[in-house]
Symmetry: C2
C-alpha cells in the first residue's frame, strides 16, 4: 500500500466536479422537460440485477466480455446493469396487471460496461432511456422520431447537424435472404457484420464475410444492398413491405423525420423490427450519437403475456461530445447570486440573519464561513459569479441598515436591513 | 432455470414505478433548491471505488460485513460505494490545488450496503450528502444546523416534529476518560457501545460493558454521563470546553437550533469532533432520520494536506417514512395536462400536429398511439389527471377548427386549430 491512496477515479469512470456537473445537469434537465412534454413518466430501478437477464437476451459480447458481475454474501449472482432495457422489461412484466397500456416511460440510470476506455467509451455512463410498451402501432415509431427531433432542438441543434438513419430488421432479413441469399443460420452473424460495416475496411469485411460462408458474389451483393437506399424497397416482396412499420412511417407525413438506410442494424440481439441511429453530420464527429428500436419479446423473459416494446437510449458522453463539437454546451451556473459579508467578525450573526431573509425571498445566498477582509470577500464573490453583495458594517447595522452593491455596475445604496431582499431583487432585475 | 425469470427486484433493492418516482423526485427537488439556496454546488462521482478506501476509515462492520466487492476483468478490487464521504474526500484531495476553500458541495448518489432488509434498511438507497471542506470554524456547524432546519421546513415539517441532538466527540472522549475512567484503548469500543445505548436493553449493555472491561461502577457512571445533558459540560476541563465547536454553537444565537446530548456518537469511525443526529419526535417513528459530523483527517488518506471536513447525509427511505408518518408526502404528479384526441384514425396526423403546437407552448400533451373510441380516450385522459382535452373531429378539422374541453367543468368551445394552445392555456388558468 502506498503512503497515500490514489485520487484518480477508477479507470473508465469519471468524477463530476461542480462545473462539469452543472453542465450535465442543465443538459439533462432540458431533456427531462422535452420528454415529459409528451407525457412520458420517469421511473427508476436498482443498479444490481440478476446476471441472467443479460445473459438471456442482450447478446454474446455484452454478457461474456462487458458485464460487471459479483456474487453477494448470500450467494446470488448479480450484475451491474449494462443497459436499462432488460430492467424496464422486468418491471413492466411484473406490473402488467395494474398498468394502463400503452405506457410511456423514461429513466436516467447510470450503466456499466467493462470496455477499453477511449473517445466516446467509458465504463460508467449516464443514460436517458425512453420506451413505449404495449403498442404495435407505427404511431409509436412516429412519436419517438418526433421526440428525437424535439430533443435535438431543445439542445440547440438545427436539422442540418444530425440525421436519423432508420431501418427495419424485417426488411433487412428479407433483403439478406431474398436478395443476397443469406441462410437462416447465417442471419445473426451477417447482422453483426452489417453493424461493423462502416467501422472496418473492405478487406476485413470481406474476410469476415468469407468466414461466415458468403461467396465473393454474395459479399458484393451485400455491399450493393446496404447502400441501395429506398431503391431496395422495390426489390422486396410486397407482403414484407406492407407489414413494416418503417415503410408506414416513410409513406406518412412523418417520413421527413428519418432517412431509410439498410445499413442500420444495431448491436443488441433483442431488436425485432424498426431500428434507428441518430448520426452527427459533422465530419469531425461522424458517428452514432444514440439509437434504439423495437423489441417484441423482451418482456417474454418474464411473462407469458405478449408486451411489445420500442425505445431508445442515449448516454451523456456522446451527447456532450456532440454539444461540444457544435458549440452548444451550456455554461456552468454561477455558485450563488448574492454574498452577505460582515465587515467585522462580530457581525457574523447579523450577516447570517440577513442571508437567511434573502434565501426566504428565493435568492441563492452565501455568507462567509471564515472571517477575511472585505476586499478579499468581494473578489471571492465576483469569482463565484455573484451579481450583488450585501455589506454588513458596524455603523450601518447599529442604525438598522445594510449596504447593497451591484458587482456589475458598482451601483450601491444603503437600505434598512429588513428591506435587503427587496433591494437586492431590484438590483438583480435592474428595476429602479 | 425456471420457465420465466422472476420479476421482483433483487432483495433489498427497489423498483420505483412512476407514482413512487414522482414522489421521490418532488421531495429531492425541494431539497436541491434549499441546499442550493446556500450556495452549495452539486457534484457526482463513480459508484465503483477502490475497496481499500472504505477498509481504511469507514469502520470494521461496514468493511467486513456490509461492503459489496468485486474484482474487475483487469484484477482490480472494487466496491460499490456504501457511502459518499470517502469518495468526496478523494475528489477534494485530488483537486485541492484548484479549489477555492472553503468549498460547499452536495451530491445525490445511490449507495449500497449488504444488510438484512427491514423497516428503514435497504441494500440500495438514494442519499443526499452535504459537506463543507477546508474550514475549522464553528460557523460551519452553525450553517449546517440552519440548513437542516430549512430542509425540514421545506418538507413541510414544523419545529415540534423533529429535534437535532448534537454532541462533540472531543467532549465525549473527555467525559469518558475524566469522568468514567475509560482508558485510551477502550475508547473506540465504548463509542460503539454508546452508539447502541438506545437500541439495546440494559442487561445487554451491561454485559457488553463488562466485556470491554468496565466495572459495574463505571457502567453506572457511564449511564449517568450519557443522560446528564448540559450539566455534563460543567464537569469537563475548561480547555476542552473552550476548544469545542459545539460549545461555541451552544453559546451563540444558533444554540436554539440543537439540543446537546452526550449520547450521540454516530457509527462511522472517521468523525473527530461535532456529531449530530436529527430525530423524529413522533412516538411511532422515534429514531434517527439522518446525521453527520466533523471529520478532520479523511482527506489525509489521499494527501499530506490537512483538509478538514464536516457534513451530513440522509437517505430516501427514512426521509419518506418521516413524511408518511407526518402526512407530508407530496402527491404523484399527473401523467400529462392535455390529451389531443382524433375522433377518427385518419385524423391521427392532424392530432399530432395540434399536440406538437401545445408542447411548444409549454403544455405537457399526449396523443393516443392506438385508435380507440372517443369515450374511452376521455376516460383515459381523466385517469391520467389531464385537465383539458382537445378533440379533433372531421367536420371541425375541415373548417380549420378543434374543440377544446375542460374535464373539470365540461366547459367546451370550438376554436381555430392555430389558437388551440391559447384556448387550452385560458382553460387551465381559468381566464375567460
Amino acid at each position: 500500500m502506498p503512503e497515500y491512496l490514489p485520487t484518480a477515479p477508477y479507470r473508465g469512470t469519471r468524477d463530476f466536479l461542480p462545473a462539469e456537473m452543472s453542465v450535465r445537469t442543465q443538459v439533462f434537465e432540458h431533456l427531462y422537460r422535452v420528454i415529459e412534454s409528451y407525457g412520458y413518466q420517469r421511473y427508476d430501478g436498482p443498479i444490481l440485477e440478476s446476471a441472467e437477464i443479460y445473459e438471456a437476451k442482450s447478446g454474446q459480447e455484452l454478457a461474456d466480455q462487458q458485464l460487471y458481475t459479483l456474487t453477494d454474501r448470500g450467494g446470488r449472482r448479480l450484475a451491474l446493469r449494462p443497459e436499462m432495457t432488460p430492467s424496464v422489461a422486468r418491471m413492466i412484466a411484473g406490473n402488467a396487471g395494474s398498468l394502463q397500456f400503452p405506457v410511456r416511460w423514461y429513466s436516467h440510470p447510470n450503466c456499466h460496461r467493462y470496455e477499453r476506455p477511449q473517445r466516446g467509451r467509458v465504463r460508467e455512463h449516464w443514460q436517458i432511456n425512453v420506451d413505449i410498451f404495449g403498442s404495435e402501432s407505427a404511431n409509436c415509431e412516429i412519436e419517438l422520431f418526433e421526440l428525437v427531433h424535439d430533443i435535438m432542438g431543445a439542445l440547440g441543434a438545427t436539422e442540418d447537424m444530425f440525421v436519423v438513419r432508420a431501418n427495419d430488421r424485417t426488411l433487412l432479413s428479407s433483403a439478406l435472404s431474398d436478395v443476397v441469399g443469406v441462410t437462416g443460420e447465417q442471419l445473426l452473424q451477417v447482422f453483426s457484420l452489417v453493424d461493423r460495416w462502416e467501422k472496418y475496411d473492405r478487406e476485413k469485411l470481406a474476410a469476415d464475410a468469407a468466414e461466415i460462408g458468403l461467396t465473393d458474389k454474395q459479399f458484393e451483393r451485400l455491399g450493393e444492398t446496404l447502400t441501395a437506399g429506398t431503391a431496395l424497397l422495390d426489390e422486396l416482396p410486397a407482403a414484407v413491405r406492407e407489414a413494416s412499420h418503417l415503410v408506414e412511417v416513410l409513406n406518412s407525413d412523418a417520413g421527413r423525420l428519418v432517412k431509410f438506410d439498410p445499413m442500420i442494424v444495431r448491436g443488441l440481439a433483442y431488436y425485432t423490427g424498426t431500428v434507428f441511429e441518430v448520426y452527427d453530420t459533422s465530419p469531425e464527429n461522424n458517428r452514432a450519437l444514440f439509437g434504439g428500436g423495437r423489441y417484441s419479446d423482451l418482456a417474454g423473459l418474464f411473462t407469458p403475456k405478449e408486451i411489445p416494446g420500442i425505445g431508445f437510449a442515449f448516454g451523456d458522453v456522446t451527447l456532450i461530445d456532440f454539444l461540444t463539437t457544435h458549440d452548444l454546451l451550456p455554461k456552468p451556473r454561477n455558485e450563488f447570486d448574492v454574498a452577505v459579508i460582515p465587515v467585522v467578525a462580530e457581525l457574523g450573526g447579523a450577516a447570517r440573519s440577513v442571508a437567511s431573509a434573502l434565501r426566504r425571498a428565493g435568492l441563492r445566498t452565501s455568507s462567509p464561513l471564515e472571517h477575511r477582509k472585505l476586499g478579499k470577500e468581494l473578489t471571492r464573490a465576483d469569482k463565484a459569479g455573484a451579481k450583488v453583495v450585501v455589506i454588513v458594517g458596524q455603523e450601518d447595522w447599529d442604525a438598522g441598515n445594510v449596504t447593497v452593491r451591484s458587482l456589475a455596475t458598482r451601483d450601491q445604496r444603503t437600505v434598512p436591513a429588513a428591506e435587503a431582499a427587496d433591494a437586492v431583487t431590484r438590483l438583480l432585475t435592474g428595476s429602479p
